[in-house]
């Protein structure tokens, strides 16, 4: 990714942070505001980051995945369900229940991805349709099961939502978290921290390992890869499934780390915003993460402006309406996808089934 793109990202973030600082300066010091904004930004960017990484694994190997939204939703539901079962039916401690939930969520993402792989690689179904199938399937299954299990007297849990094991606790990283004021930025929950680690790991895998070289080759020119003995089909399957794991972990964020409940369609378009982040980041992990932070910052803006609601001057009254501020990520997505912020180049064989 080029420096211009990073500059645009930095500028947008500065503007958003600046807005909150200007509004809140009479109550808090700018340093405190910025630190708190940064911490929120990194946390809420987590599902976007993981969604974008999911897209990177799939598309770098040549499979378009617009089913990330559905994979995350499915993972959020089944992960949450598993944690509840562990907690209430098998009477396990909350921590074990939550970790089981994360495991099941990751697995769910992988299974949805396997379905996508079978459809798009083996049966060469149009990949946009394959992704749409996943999205519709996830919405349907989770909505249906949610109702069957928790609502009405005939449901599995008899109409009451059982006691949930809560959310994953934040981790205190020695040294980093002890830094005065800024330490708060590193005080994060495990999925958020894993997402950061996965950005670095994915970059390393993609650009410095045999696996990554072959993955990119398969996504750029599968025939060339085939002629040097690389199994194109296998590479694509595995990368799509790894992508599914990423989306699954992203889904776990919603119900096991952010809040401890499930609502139908709670991913609310994050999977698609993640795709936009991936595109804006030019299919690179760091680029996609930076783009995810922009969306995260927009959300942090919305959250923080709530705190300072009374302080917003009448001339900026529009910022009092959290719905208007909440539109920011979606407007950013549209701007990015219309190519207003410069052209990006997708892997050459992205979306094209491989025919021998």
């Amino acid at each position: 990714m080029d420096w211009r793109r990073f500059a645009i990202i930095a500028l947008v973030i500065v503007i958003m942070f600046g807005t909150v600082v200007v509004v809140g300066i009479s109550q808090n010091s700018p340093l405190v505001i910025i630190t708190s904004m940064l911490a929120t930004t990194i946390a809420v960017a987590t599902p976007l980051t993981l969604g974008a990484l999911s897209g990177i694994y799939c598309e770098r190997s040549g499979v378009v995945n617009i089913g990330i939204e559905g994979m995350m939703l499915g993972a959020a539901f089944f992960g949450w369900l598993a944690s509840i079962y562990m907690n209430t039916v098998f009477h396990q401690v909350p921590m074990l229940s939550l970790l089981t939930g994360v495991f099941v969520a990751v697995l769910t993402g992988g299974l949805f991805a396997l379905l996508h792989a079978v459809l798009s690689i083996t049966f060469k179904v149009d990949q946009i349709i394959g992704g749409t199938v996943i999205n519709i399937l996830a919405t349907g299954i989770t909505g249906f099961l949610n109702r069957q299990m928790f609502f009405g007297s005939g449901s599995v849990f008899g109409g009451t939502v059982p006691h949930s094991p809560g959310v994953l606790p934040s981790i205190h990283i020695p040294l980093l978290a002890d830094i005065p004021v800024f330490g708060r930025i590193f005080q994060q929950q495990p999925i958020t921290l894993s997402a950061l680690a996965l950005v670095v790991i994915t970059h390393f895998v993609l650009f410095h390992t045999r696996w990554g070289l072959r993955t990119r080759a398969v996504g750029e020119h599968p025939r060339a890869a085939d002629t040097v003995g690389i199994n194109v089909i296998r590479m694509r399957y595995l990368n799509v499934i790894i992508g599914g794991f990423m989306a699954g972990l992203g889904g776990a964020y919603f119900t096991l780390e952010s809040i401890s409940s499930f609502e139908p369609m709670m991913t609310n378009g994050r999977g698609f915003i993640a795709l936009a982040a991936m595109i804006f980041g030019n299919w690179t992990p760091f680029g996609a993460w930076a783009a995810a932070l922009v969306f995260g910052a927009a959300q942090a803006l919305q959250i923080n402006l709530q705190f300072f609601r009374e302080l917003i001057p009448p001339s900026l009254a529009i910022l009092q309406n959290s719905y208007v501020v909440g539109l920011a990520p979606y407007i950013l997505t549209m701007l990015i996808l219309t190519g207003l912020i410069g052209k990006t180049i997708a892997p050459a064989a992205d979306g094209k089934p491989y025919e021998k």
């Binding site: 410095h208 390992t209 045999r210 696996w211 070289l213 072959r214 990119r216 080759a217 750029e220 020119h221 025939r223 060339a224 890869a225 085939d226 002629t227 040097v228 003995g229 690389i230 050459a348 021998k356």
Partner: protein, 508 residues
């Protein structure tokens, strides 16, 4: 350097595809250190045989021996292990990867089991390139390399895998004559070092120049093997085609008339927005053939697309038949009398799923007698098709088979028939014989000269220097989007044209 040790032998190779016998009991052998040319028309079965040797297809029957031992080749990996390397006609290189990354792909050198060792690969590549005299820089991106160097990368890629048998599939198709000569030097250099080469081509001159032995294939069978000293172009051509072929185009001197096409200061951008036709001016007279020579990718495609109205012009003017036609869409241009044989017949010349009959009225379907009151007239379309099939000798079982089922030569005849069946003042032919067999080439060439003699202006674009020299009355050479020279075809040599095509400036 050829010896009598046989490094590769294929016996009785047979391969069926649905409806086609692509290889029919083919026998082929390769001696150590020799260049064995495999000659044949498109569809003769050369590529099928090579894909079998390289593990891309499995033969239905037959056996292969490598270095005297029976070999089982199921995948490209098997053949790489056996020391067979292939340089494909369309390079198997990834443009966004570096030379080193392309070379190591599939056979990477790694540290600590997972980390790519770019330095070790670069060193290996440098060593190989010194050893064989193939200069390449491992750190360059492939997309920044000229085609000739990309081909060197492909050769090094095979050598990196310790290939001692090298298959070169139509290696000169994309090269300038000078680059081709360089390649031949490299090939000899390789054979001196014990590499054996299978050289696939349909160009007779090259075969006679570089091969130690020549095997000719036709219709899936080997028709014979010869040594260059014992044969000549005419003999090889008739072996390829199965009948006598007239290689030379007979034509009388041109009788040029009025100016039909005039182009002034034309600029055209490609899809990436780069200026690929830069300030080009020329004219074509009635009754002459203006040939545009040049290596592929020097702006010819975009030039033709701009002239035919398929691509917008970024600057300059165009007059056709005395009228300013700058920026006009294809229909008025066609209606004024331009015929267009496009470069890619399958993508831009035909609708492959439509029938032969429908393809023959693609540019006139809306006009009487084919279209009356917005209704197609099947009877008129039918009789038109039957007449054109007869006139242009299109080999098709009926006018109602999808045109995609026909052979390349017959597809091209459908296009020629359609384009020339309406009143024509200018024929724009872009690579009109690419990928065609000798017989079809002969036919298309004759047709172009017939049109010229009828007073049609012809603009011929071709990367085949022989074709340009055989047909043109004047020749313009295109290099990096500009016309670097325009000369009288009778007063220029092949070598001179080759130099201009490679970027040399003509003396003032």
């Amino acid at each position: 350097m050829a010896t009598n040790d046989i490094v590769l032998e294929a016996k009785g190779i047979t391969k069926h595809f649905p409806g086609v016998l692509a290889n029919d009991h083919v026998d082929f052998d390769l001696h150590k250190g020799e260049i064995h040319a495999l000659l044949g028309e498109n569809g003769a079965g050369k590529t099928t045989l090579m894909n079998i040797l390289y593990g891309l297809y499995l033969p239905d029957s037959g056996e292969i021996q490598v270095d005297g031992k029976p070999a089982v080749i199921h995948t490209p990996k098997d053949s790489i292990t056996l020391g067979i390397g292939m340089v494909h006609q369309h390079f198997m290189l990834i443009p966004v990867f570096t030379v080193a990354e392309n070379i190591m792909l599939g056979d990477e050198i790694v540290r600590n089991k997972i980390v790519l060792d770019q330095k070790a690969v670069a060193k290996r590549v440098r060593d190989l390139s010194h050893q064989y005299g193939l200069e390449i820089n491992p750190e360059t991106l492939v997309s920044q390399l000229p085609v000739g160097v990309q081909q060197r990368v492909e050769i090094v890629k095979a050598l990196y895998r310790n290939a001692h048998i090298l298959i070169l599939d139509e290696p000169t198709a994309v090269l300038t004559p000078q680059e081709a000569d360089e390649l031949f030097v490299i090939m000899h250099e390789l054979t001196k070092r014990g590499v054996s080469i299978i050289f696939i081509t349909h160009k007779l001159k090259e075969v006679l120049a570089v091969a130690d032995r020549i095997t000719v294939m036709r219709d899936g069978k080997v028709v014979g093997t010869a040594k260059p000293k014992e044969t000549d172009e005419a003999k090889l051509a008739s072996m390829m085609v199965g009948r006598e072929v007239i290689l030379k185009v007979d034509k009388d001197p041109a009788k040029p008339g009025n100016e039909i096409l005039k182009v002034d200061g034309l600029k055209v951008h490609d899809i990436r927005g780069l200026e690929v036709v830069r300030d080009v001016s020329f004219h074509v007279l009635a009754g002459e053939v203006l040939g545009i020579a040049g290596v592929q990718g020097n702006g010819q495609t975009e030039l033709v697309e701009a002239l035919t109205g398929l691509r917008s012009m970024a600057g300059g003017k165009m007059w056709f038949s005395g009228k300013d036609m700058t920026g006009k869409p294809p229909r008025p241009i066609t209606e004024t009398g331009m015929a267009h044989i496009p470069e890619d017949r399958q993508r831009h010349g035909l609708v492959l799923g439509y029938t032969v009959a429908d393809n023959m009225v693609l540019n006139t379907y809306y006009l009487p007698p084919f279209g009356v009151h917005n209704m197609l007239q099947p009877a008129a379309i039918d009789s038109n098709a039957r007449k054109l099939i007869e006139d242009y000798d299109v080999r098709t079982p009926s006018p109602y088979v999808p045109v995609g089922k026909l052979s390349g030569g017959n597809q091209q005849k459908v296009i020629v028939a359609r384009e020339l069946s309406h009143p024509v003042k200018l024929l724009v032919a872009n690579q009109p014989t690419r990928g065609l067999d000798v017989g079809s080439i002969e036919y298309i060439h004759k047709e172009i000269i017939v049109m010229r003699d009828r007073g049609v202006a012809v603009l011929l674009v071709s990367a085949e220097l022989d074709e340009i020299m055989a047909l043109s009355d004047r020749i313009a050479v295109m290099y990096r989007g500009q016309i670097v020279a325009t000369v009288d075809a009778a007063k220029v040599t092949r070598e001179q044209l080759g130099l201009w095509m490679a970027g040399a400036h003509p003396e003032e």
